[in-house]
């Protein structure tokens, strides 16, 4: 297993390198640069800025310069948030996103699986229809609608919760963002679980288990659920990567200090170094989480072995 993990990590290095290279050149294809503002700068000033940030060099030189720095752990200064380096920006924001994302993921996964199993066991009952109806809604109503509606109800009208901001890190501040972040994923997990559970409940080994007279809890909880969880687990990797690295919509709406908005702001501001930083971040997350998913596979499904 250890060998498997090591070889997977090693083989992911080229992947990240290719992603970095492609992003480096693609962001430079976008028209305009970090210093093209709505109110344009004088050409002399622009020249000074380009010189300070090495943007007056040929792109290949900038690329080599950048790679050299990254190899030394330096992701460069942000071109737009000028008082900070990219590493500072991302490392300051990441813990907030991780806390938020972890809660959201937890609720989405366990809530989703529980609802999905329940619905599968009562297939075609009113409870099933109700749950699946709600989850379809959760999945289709975008979070920029759910968020403001919940805020209007619970923060503005009832004044039970704050409208936003991390505040003291008080859990009251996190309730709404976590709900908004987890709801769409919870809906997906519920539907996925329901579908695969229905299939699993009809599988031969589950029928056999039933025939042997095993208690219902063990039939459903062990034999059916194991098989039923496989699609859920495959979906978990990429979802975890995106949920844990934050969401610009949720962060903007609730004024939270997470890392998600840097993905969008970096690109819109042509903040080249910040874009690269976020690209590396998400690549690492995807690689690591997919690895974790593969390891979980091996535990859940004995047929899969990585040796």
């Amino acid at each position: 297993m250890l060998r498997f993990i090591l070889s997977r990590l090693l083989s992911s290095a080229p992947t990240i390198f290719i992603v970095m290279t492609l992003s480096f050149f693609m962001i430079r294809l976008a028209p305009g640069g970090p210093f093209n503002l709505e109110r344009p700068l004088q050409p002399e000033v622009m020249a000074n800025l380009n010189a300070v940030y090495h943007l007056d060099q040929p792109v290949w030189k900038q690329y080599i310069f950048y790679l050299w720095n990254v190899l030394h752990g330096d992701f460069g200064p942000s071109f737009v948030y000028k008082d900070y380096t990219v590493s500072e920006l991302i490392l300051q924001a990441l813990p907030y996103s991780l806390v938020l994302g972890a809660w959201a993921l937890l609720i989405a996964v366990f809530g989703g699986i529980a609802l999905g199993v329940y619905a599968a066991l009562r297939q075609n009952s009113w409870a099933d229809y109700l749950l699946m109806g709600i989850s379809a809604l959760g999945n289709t109503v975008p979070n920029f609608v759910i968020g403001p509606v919940l805020t209007l109800i619970f923060a503005v009208s009832l004044a039970w919760l704050p409208t936003g901001s991390w505040g003291n890190g008080d859990f009251r501040h996190l309730v709404l963002p976590i709900i908004v972040l987890s709801l769409p994923q919870l809906a997906v997990f519920a539907r996925l679980t329901r579908g695969s559970m229905i299939e699993a409940l009809r599988a031969d080994h589950v029928r056999t288990a039933r025939a042997y007279g095993l208690p219902a809890r063990s039939v459903v909880g062990v034999h059916a659920l194991r098989a039923g969880l496989m699609p859920v687990i495959s979906y978990l990797g990429p979802v975890a990567a995106s949920v844990l690295t934050g969401s610009i919509i949720v962060e903007q709406m609730f004024s939270l200090p997470g890392v998600g908005r840097y993905f969008v702001l970096g690109a819109l501001n042509r903040d080249y170094t910040l874009v690269m930083g976020t690209v590396v971040l998400i690549s690492v997350f995807i690689v690591v989480l997919n690895l974790i998913v593969d390891i979980i596979y091996a535990f859940v499904d004995p047929r899969i072995r990585h040796d």
Partner: protein, 533 residues
Amino acid sequence: MTYRISSRKVGKIFATTALAALLSSTAFAETVIRRGNGGEPQTLDQAKISIDIEGFIVRDLFEGLTVYDANGKVAPGVAESWTISDDGTVYTFKLRDNAKWSDGSPVVAGDFVYSMTRVLDPATAAGYATILYPIKGAEAFNTSKGQADALGLKAVDDKTLEITLERATPYFLQLMTHYTAIPVNKANIEKFGADFTKPGNLVSNGAYELTEYVANDHITAVKNPDYWDAANVKIDKVIYNPSEDQAAVARAFEAGELDVAYNFQADQRDFLTKKLGEDQVQASPALATYYYAFDTRKPPFDDVRVRKALSIAVDRDFLSEKVYGGTQLPSYTFVPPGMEGYTSPTPADVDKDQLDREDEAKELLKEAGYGEGGKPLKIDIRYNTNENHKKVAVAVADMWKALGAEVTIQNLDVKSHYAYLQEGGSFDVARAGWSADYADPENFLNLLVSTNKAFNYGHYSNPKFDELMKASYEEKDQAKRMAILAEAEALVLNEYPVTPFMNNANLWLVSRKVKGFSQNAVNEHLTKYLSIE
């Protein structure tokens, strides 16, 4: 696994913040104001800031030679008085004896020499260095053609600063309120380098000092006891909310989580007014113009008649009312109203009914050979992506279609849009906007000088106009200078290189609890003028 990580982190954040809450609550009953800042500063380094939302914070933390008072008029800041030489080129500022940095050291003339030299140093790459170009030798130094010691900045003694200008600059005291003219602390920068703006490091000389900065969450500043006018500063602590989500900010204001908030959605004005009351929803004219520029280099837009026709056919009232809910005011002049000592010339067709204006527009197009029976008139409108700009473009396209033009519209994100225009890209009609750096008509009219490569998008070129602008710089008598500028604007209003649509408004939500907040065109509302009941 995820659960353990998260609970540990949550626990840590809980512990530290609970402690902080405990400490602050046991201190003393302090007056706190929570300000919706309208957006997140990209930097607090005065040499690098470029936008009002950064200025709001920096101006609370620092104080320049002159400042804007609560009514937006130039007032003494660190300089308690000044004298101007007869030819208007030498300004001698007398600094306050009791002006101090937040570390207790005195603010001296040398601090200003250091700070302005730093802004002008090409290695600093200050985006707004041009504001200081009127200072002697500034442009040469900033463009690496001159030396720092040739700058017209001189500390005569600790409390006397002498600034020599390249030429008389009648709006120089306005410029000294600008954030690029704010002093920074040399020892502070030498100690911390690029990290000097971070809380705990930053030494400032304004009414407040920075204590906390959490990106996209909050920025906190507390009253600076060393500030010379600290006795008159009524609010102990400012918490800036850097959210730029205007809907979220309005909700936070409504929930009582913000006391003042900059910017709300223009089309929400009526809705907000109904909910919050007229006194809490404020819109006042800003020194800013929303306009379209014509590419005067190519037909048919090189023809004044076509430009005029297109300009007068636009129903400004409609744009102002229907798109902006009255939060932008219809405008027919390029220089916005509200500049001290200046009145724009009245354009010829202002008082005419819109229907008559349309008829005249059709006549003009006919004369120029376009419109019904003439050559087809194809117009492409470019704008930077934004819901309101889109509505304006669609409405204007419709008004021009009524003249028989074929109109297409296209949008690019803001960077691409302006990069294209600044690089001299060819276009038909393009949206642009300008808001004043300083309250002087020169700041707008200068955009249309033929040598202004970066800002004169439409490449308007009229030697007469250039000459008038030149004359305005040489004129020392303020009233005469304003008359020359008005003459220059009259040319613009007759030749339509640009067609102004609206004056922007400054939009604020201001709680009834907040006193001392007065509307002003320069949109400066320093916390030190405010109080809370």
